[in-house]
Every structure is written in C-alpha cells, then in structure tokens.
C-alpha cells in the first residue's frame, strides 16, 4: 500500500514515531483519519500503553493465595478475610505537579481515588510520596503540593495517613509526586472493568468535558484557528466536592444489580476509558459523541475524546437499568448521560450526528502499540572518595542529622492533612506505617510508602530491594504481616541506555525482594521521562505496601512506652557508611555502593519482630533506616518523651564509630521490652538466629551512650521539630 505519511511535525504533535504510524496503517489496513490518529497518539503513549516498560513488568511476581486481582485492573485487590478485600494502587503526577504544584498534586489524588472507586471499593486512606530539589529553592513546590494533596483529600473526607518527603539535587526541576490510595471492598461487590457485554449501555457521569489537558501540541490544533492553541488550558483544576458526590453516587449505583462495572476517566480521558472497557471485555463500543456533556461551546470530537477533565466515571450498565442509575446520580445532583453502548463487533466507533467519524479495532487501539526495547547499558562506576575522619562529637552530629530536611519531623506537613476522619486511624502518621482498623472486624490494615533514590542511584537493583524491605519493615514494626505491594517507577528518559539499565535493574530488585519476602506486586504505575536541564532524576522506585494485623489490639507502637523498659537492637550490630545520609550530608560523599542487603537475614529479622509482637513481647518497635541506629533510637525517644541510657556501643569487628552510630546497615529494628518479656525475646532470637543486642534502659531525659555521647532530649526535639522550617 502506498502510505502518505503525515509530516514530521504532525507526528510529533501526536507523539508517534514514523514506525508507529506505519504499524497503525498496517494493523488498520488503511490510513487513520485525524481523530483516529489523535486517539492512537494518546493510547500508544508510554503513559497509556507501557510500551517500554511492559516487558519488564512481567518479571514481577504477582500471584498469591490472597490475590483477588493482580496488575492490569484499576487497582490491585487482596483478600483480608471476613469477606472483605483491600484495593490499592499508587500513581504518579510528576509532570502536572511541576507545572502547577497545587492543582497537579490535587488532581493526582483525585485520579488515584477514582482508580480505587472503580473497583467498587470505598477509599479509606491516602498516602503521598514526595521528592523535591533542596530547600529553600523548592519551598514553593513543597507548599503547593502539600496544600494540593490536603486540599483534595481533606475535602473528600479520606484521611491522608502516611507518606514520605525527600529533598535532593536530582529532583530540582522535576519533583516527584506519587499518591497512593487504599480502599476496602466487600468481595462480592468487587467490580472489574472488563465485564461488559454487547448491548450494555455506557453511561458517563460527573463533570462536563472541557478542553483540559489535551496534549498541548495536538494534532487537531491544525484544524483550529491559531489562537485556540493557547486557549487550551495545560492545567486541570480539580473539584474534590464533585468527586465526593461521584464517590457516593458510584457506591450507591454499584449496589444496583444492573451495574456491571465502573471505569474511571484518567489520562487520555474518554478514549482510554472506553477502549479499556471494550478491550478487556473483548468487545467493541459505539459512542454518540454529541451526547457527551461539555463545558465549552464548539468542542470538536477530537477535543471531546481527548479531554482529560477530572471527576468523571464511565458506568457499564445492563440494558433496562439506565433510569435507575440516572436516578442515583440525580440524587447527588450529578449529570449521568448514556453516551453509547458496548457492541459485538470489536470496533471503537465514534458517531457524530449520525455519521461515523472514527471506527478502529479496539484491540489495535488498546493493545497494538509495538513494544519498545531500548538499549540498556550500565553506567561507568564513579570513584568513591574516602570519608574524612569522624567528627569528635557524635551528639552534635546527631542533632544536625535530626534537624536535616530528610530526617526531621514531618508534622508540619501531615498536620495539614486530615489523618483522622473515618474514625479508623489507630496509629497516625509520624511513626513507621499507619494502622487503620477495619470496621466490623477485629483486624487492622497497616500501610506505608517508601523509596530511596540515593541507594538506587548507587545501585538500582540493591536500592530497589532495600525499598521493598524497608516498606516491609515499616509494616512489620507495627506488628502487621505484609500482604502485597504497589509500586511507582519514577525514572528518566528510557532512551538513554543508562536509564533503561536502571529501570531493568530496579525491576529486578523489586522482583527479587518480593519473591524473597513472599509479596506479590498487585498494582503500580510507571513514570518515565522525568528529566530537567540537569538530566535524569535519580532512579526512584517507590514502594507502597499494605499489611494485615489480624488482631488490631496487638498493634505495636513506635515510641518507647515506659521508663525502665529494655531497649534492644534487633539485627546485626554492624556499621557501614555506604550510601548513608551521614556520608551525603556531613561528608559530601555521593558515590560508592549502597548498603549491603542479605534477603535471608532480612526475612529472619522480620520474622522475629512479627513473632515477638504476636506473642506480646514488644512494647515498641521501630525500624532502623536513614540516619542509622542513633537516629532511629532518638526518634523512639522524641516520640515518647522518654530518654535512654545505654552502655558504650562498639560494633563487631573493626568499624569506625560514626559508622556504628549512623551507618545504614540493613535489616535492623530498635525494640523495647519489659523485664518479663526479655528472656522470651532472647530465646526467640536465638531460635531464629537473629542478633539481639541490649542497648540500654529507657529513662531520663537524655540520649546517652556511656562515655560516647549524652544529648538532652529537648535539644534533639527542637532540632527535629524545626527542621522543615529551616531553609537549610
């Protein structure tokens, strides 16, 4: 066939390569018209098609006894007993948040909520993982993003119960905003997008379509007059109030037998929602475009199909139920319009005033994008400078680290999030994982989100393994058993061989750690092309994890509980400065290796903490992470207001003292126990061959290591409290 390939400019505007265009023509057996090409452009984008990452994601373990829904649906779903399941997923909104921090973050939260709602679940919690360039330069972004997350979540009445914030040079110009949502669903009400049948009605509910988010340089702009280009807003403004109504209305609608499925409208708007529903049902769909409610006059079919206006849901409804569905939405003062139907012919057909304006096989649109296999190449290892002599005064170092932007208190942030609404929050933000009770059961869910770009820069495989292990440690510290993982892969441009190599290694790292810990990956998100003038961001896989506490009353707090309790280190008394916050912040060492991780040891340590918590032997538990043992111990003290008196601490073997205190050796916890519990804890540790070191006794108002350091708690607390305010 003689193909008239559109101009380079035209192709660039729909973000398709010449080869992809040829593939479209091959698969269609003809050339696409402009509307069709636009739809291909969005659905074959990396964001929607995962054309680069899909082959890698297959490496994740994703099955398991409890998994009711693995990757591929709007959210992963895991059995938690009592006929209930937990649905959860993480999503990035990096680029929108870079342009407009408040709205970018807010609509990111809105988007992830709709994913969970689409499973038939009721969202019960939000978490946010945030990364920025250093303060004070990133202050505006930090403020905007935090206000946006809070603005949306607070208005919705969904508590934001956890998250993380890091500041690093690598995110200057390209901040990361990842939002995670956790929902609960009755197993018999679980919905899947792919259950539509030919003849079912498609009902579009919620906000009218505006010209929002249609990729700024779009193909159809050629049809419009020159000025209209600027008239297309690049930023979407969220309406959490409408989303709240949409949530309630969808929940009510899902109680109707005739509602088969709900699909959210996210990236690529209606095009993606309809194509996904139809593709998963192995069916087709027909849309009467004139019926789609619009916010603006004069919108073209192209604009309507590609609009990314927020707060919209598509319902797949058995014929005959349309009115009852309409009545539900009417009760919530929302528009709900039948815009078409599922068909049996496998085509996505768009009809405008009775005339077909597009008709393409759904399969080609949804799954036809040729996979990409970029070149992968390990970067040259950078030389590791040796660390300078340790500072004399470990106490002063501790104060500085605790007051540093990466380790200080996050209260100034999470107090701007409603983290209590829902009357479920048993362990609020501020500790390791948040714990929320599950109403009507004795159980609770623990949840966390974690990543470490610095470890991943040093070695993406080990860094990713550590991210999984650290998330699991946060869950385990509360006494909960990790259930499953959702992951957000934030990377640079995969066409750079080093970046693709990072992506591969990180995926392998997540896979290995998940396999070792028996954790399926049930959902996730990929965000590539995170670049600024300085180049790619650090490879940043972010791990969201949910755990189950069979008996909520067995939850373990992170703070010390009483004077006189024994304070112990679970795991190796080892030290290494590799990849540590100390090396980076105090010594300016940014290269080298990440900490060593032994997955077998990790398992044993987590086992010990879990068994001990089940037997009620632990008064408190907190994992050792960035800043090492001393920072973790100081946190346990600050949270409780109780000091600790320890004997001098030396590591096994020849280790620098600063590495003992601040080194980030993996697989460790600080726990406390009563004198009754101690012997049992010790024998449990012996049985599992896990090191257990008695550090000292809780008490007093200082953090003390005999002859090594002694710092008043008040000094630590002040530094820690004020860290985010300081422009350091």
């Amino acid at each position: 066939m003689n193909v008239a390939v559109p101009s380079d400019e035209k192709l660039r505007e729909v973000a398709l390569t010449r080869a992809e265009y040829h593939s479209i023509v091959d698969q269609l057996g003809r050339e696409p018209n402009d509307l069709e090409l636009g739809m291909f452009g969005v659905l074959w984008s990396e964001h929607c098609s995962y054309k680069t990452s899909r082959p890698l994601l297959r490496r994740f373990p994703s099955g398991g006894e409890r998994v009711l829904q693995g990757p591929g649906e709007n959210a992963g779903v895991v059995d938690i007993g009592y006929g209930l399941a937990v649905a959860f997923k993480v999503e990035s909104h990096n680029h929108p948040s870079a342009i407009e921090p408040y709205q970018g973050a807010a609509t990111g939260v809105g988007g992830i909520l709709r994913d969970v709602i689409a499973m038939g679940a009721r969202p019960v919690a939000l978490l946010d993982s945030l990364r920025f360039g250093p303060l004070p330069g990133s202050r505006r972004h930090l403020e905007g993003v935090v206000a946006g997350v809070g603005g949306y979540g607070n208005c919705m009445g969904i508590p934001t119960v956890g998250g993380e914030i890091y500041f690093d040079e690598s995110y200057r110009g390209n901040p990361l905003v990842n939002a995670m949502c956790v929902g609960i669903v009755r197993q018999d009400q679980l919905k899947r997008a792919g259950t539509g049948r030919s003849g079912d009605s498609l009902i579009l509910a919620g906000a009218p379509a505006g010209r929002d988010g249609i990729h700024a340089a779009s193909f159809a702009s050629l049809e419009l007059d020159g000025s209209s280009e600027q008239r297309r807003p690049a930023v979407q403004v969220g309406n959490p109030f409408m989303e709240k109504c949409l949530l309630e209305a969808c929940q009510e609608a899902l109680d109707l037998e005739g509602v088969r499925a709900v699909q959210d409208l996210g990236a690529a708007g209606l095009t993606s929602a309809v194509a996904e529903c139809a593709a998963k049902a192995e069916a087709g769909a027909s849309i009467e475009i004139d019926r789609v409610p619009r916010r603006e006059r004069g919108m073209t079919p192209y604009e309507v199909m590609l609009s990314e206006s927020q707060e919209r849901m598509l319902l797949i409804v058995e014929p005959g139920w349309e009115e009852r569905v309409g009545a539900v939405f009417d009760r919530w003062d929302l528009e709900a319009v039948r815009i078409g139907s599922i068909t049996g012919d496998g085509r996505l057909q768009i009809v405008e005033r009775g005339v077909d304006v597009a008709a393409v096989p759904v399969r080609v649109l949804a799954d036809g994008a040729p996979l990409r296999h970029p070149v992968s190449r390990a970067p040259e290892p950078a030389p590791t400078p040796s660390a300078p002599e340790p500072a004399e005064d470990a106490g002063a170092t501790l104060v500085r680290l605790l007051g540093g932007p990466n380790l200080c208190s996050r209260r100034p942030v999470f107090r701007r999030y409603d983290h209590m609404v829902g009357n479920a929050t048993l362990l609020p933000p501020g500790g390791d994982a948040a714990v929320l009770r599950v109403a009507g059961t004795p159980a609770a869910l623990a949840m966390t989100i974690d990543g470490n770009g610095r470890y991943c820069r040093l070695d993406p495989l080990i860094g990713a393994e550590i991210a999984v292990c650290e998330a699991a440690r946060n869950i385990v510290a509360t006494g909960a058993t990790p259930l499953a993982v959702t992951d957000c892969l934030n990377f640079g441009n995969p066409d750079r061989p080093e970046v693709f190599w990072q992506l591969e290694r990180a995926v392998d790292g997540i896979s290995r750690a998940c396999e070792a810990l028996g954790l399926p990956v049930v959902s996730g998100n990929v965000s590539l092309y995170n670049e600024s003038e300085q180049g790619a961001i650090d490879p940043t896989p972010v791990i969201g994890m949910v755990g189950l506490l069979e008996d909520a009353s067995r939850r373990v707090p992170q703070a010390l509980q009483a004077e006189g309790d024994f304070v112990l280190l679970v795991g190796e008394n080892a030290g290494g400065l590799e990849g540590s916050e100390l090396a980076a912040r105090e010594y300016g060492v940014q290269t080298g290796r990440p900490p060593v991780l032994d997955l077998l040891k990790e398992q044993a340590v987590q086992d010990l903490v879990l068994q001990a918590s089940r037997q009620g032997l632990l008064r408190s538990a907190h994992d050792v992470a960035e800043g090492g043992l001393l920072v973790a111990l100081a946190e346990c003290c600050i949270w409780s207001g109780i000091g600790v008196r320890c004997s001098a601490l030396q590591a096994d073997g020849e280790v620098r003292q600063d590495a003992v205190f601040f080194g980030e050796a993996q697989s460790r916890f600080i726990v406390s126990a009563t004198s009754h519990g101690l012997p049992e804890l010790q024998s449990l540790a012996r049985g599992l061959k896990v090191d257990l070191t008695l550090l000292g006794l809780a008490g007093g108002d200082r953090v003390e290591f005999d002859g090594q350091l002694s710092v008043p708690l008040s000094e630590l607390r002040t530094a820690w409290d004020r860290g985010l305010e300081a422009d350091a």
Binding site: N154, K244, C245, E248, R416, V421
Partner: protein, 234 residues
C-alpha cells in the same frame, strides 16, 4: 434516644458521628438527607463535619438554604437539641442560629491535631456532664475555624455565658500558643441563649473510644443523652 445526623453532599463526618451513636452509645440513628424536610422524630440533630457544598465561597454558605435546614431551624426554635460540629458550626453561623462567623485559620493553613479545650459553661445541652473549668482533649481538623464576631456580639455572648469551649493548653490556661486557629477569645464552641443549640469546631466524635486516642468526646454525647432525657421524661 434517637439521633439524627444530617447529610449534605459534601459531608463526611456523618459516618463517624453515626458510628459513635450506634456502636459506642448504642442509641438509635437516623441519617437526614439535606433535600428532605422530615426530621424523622429525632431527639437531637447533629450537623456533622465536612465540606457541605465544597465550601466554595464560604463554608456553609450554600448548605444553609437546603430544605433540611428549614426544619432544623423550626426544631431549634422549639427547643430541640441541635449540635453543629466543625462544618455544622459554620452552617449554624451562616444560618444565623448562632452569632458570629468562622473565617480562615490564622496562618491560613488547615490544621488536623489534638487540642485541649476548657469548658466554660456546663449548662448547655452538650456540656452538662462536664464541670466548669474542666479540660478535655479533642481533635480539630479544619481550615476555616477562626471564630470572629464584631465587638458588640463578642461581649454579648461573653456576658451571656454562651462560650462553652475555649482552646487552652493542657493545664487549662488560655496560652498564646494554645489557640490553633486564631479564634477571638480562644473560642472553640458557643451555644445559643437558650442552650439547646451548640456549635463547635473540634470533633468529639473522633475521641469516643480509647483506641482512637481518647474518650473525652463521649462526655459530650452523654450530655446530649442526659439533656434529651430531661426534656422528654420517659
């Protein structure tokens, strides 16, 4: 006793209030839809927290015109117990059932945290299980909880003993740092002259069970129970 919890489209503390009524107190519960006028024979109406209509323009501005509010006003005029919590307080002020208004927090930030309240009037329907000067611990969660009124109104409610709760430190002092939103006179909750209508920003429904960090909120619910019993002898 039968509690009615009003549900506006953007309300979200309805479930939390309902939970306390049904599962903590074991009392009867009715949800009251904002479009309905029927109060279902309840003994106490709770206007719970949330963002009734997105709280665009001003918190509570649009909600006050809803049909259910007409009935709530009549109910209050007849001496019925009406309890506005957080957004409910804002709505009661907008509706003129309570004096003053709630504006943006000093510092303009949303605040979710535990706060201490000192009870300044143990005579209201919602504080009769407390004693004057008693300090309780209750969470707040709002962006517009800064109570403001003109000087004449302020002195009128002060003189009338209508201030029921004030923000304080844990010893009950009205310390500067213990006013999380900048409210005039540290006001956290006020009642009408008759004492059957209370509006407060803090969330007692979030602290009625020990595992949620405190049980002081329960005292307020029990006060309402007591008041309802007094009003309608069984």
């Amino acid at each position: 006793m039968r509690f009615g919890v009003v549900v506006f489209p953007g309300t979200w503390s309805d479930r939390d209030c309902g939970w306390v009524v049904e599962h903590v107190l074991g009392e009867e519960l009715r949800y009251l839809w904002h479009k309905d006028r029927d109060l279902a024979g309840v003994d106490c109406v709770i206007l719970p927290g949330g963002f009734s209509y997105g709280d665009y323009l001003r918190a509570g501005a649009i909600a006050r015109f809803s049909p259910v509010m007409e009935s709530v006003r009549e109910f209050a005029d007849g001496g019925g117990l009406v309890w506005g919590i957080c957004n409910g307080f804002q709505i009661l002020c907008e509706a003129g059932l309570l004096p003053g208004a709630l504006v943006r927090n000093a510092g303009s930030e949303f605040r979710c945290q535990w706060s201490h309240l000192v009870c300044d009037d143990a005579g209201s329907a919602f504080s009769n299980r407390l004693s004057r000067g008693q300090v309780i611990r209750v969470p707040i969660s709002h962006g517009e909880g800064n109570y403001q009124a003109d000087p004449a109104t302020l002195s009128r409610i002060e003189q009338g003993g209508q201030v029921v709760f004030r923000y304080c430190d844990e010893t009950g002092r009205l310390a500067d740092g213990a006013n999380p939103n900048g409210s005039a006179h540290h006001i956290a909750g006020i009642r009408n002259e008759r004492g059957n209508v209370l509006g407060m920003m803090p969330h007692p429904e979030r602290c009625a069970e020990p595992e949620l960090g405190g049980t002081d909120g329960r005292l307020l619910f029990e006060s309402a129970l007591h008041a309802a019993r007094e009003r309608v002898p069984a």
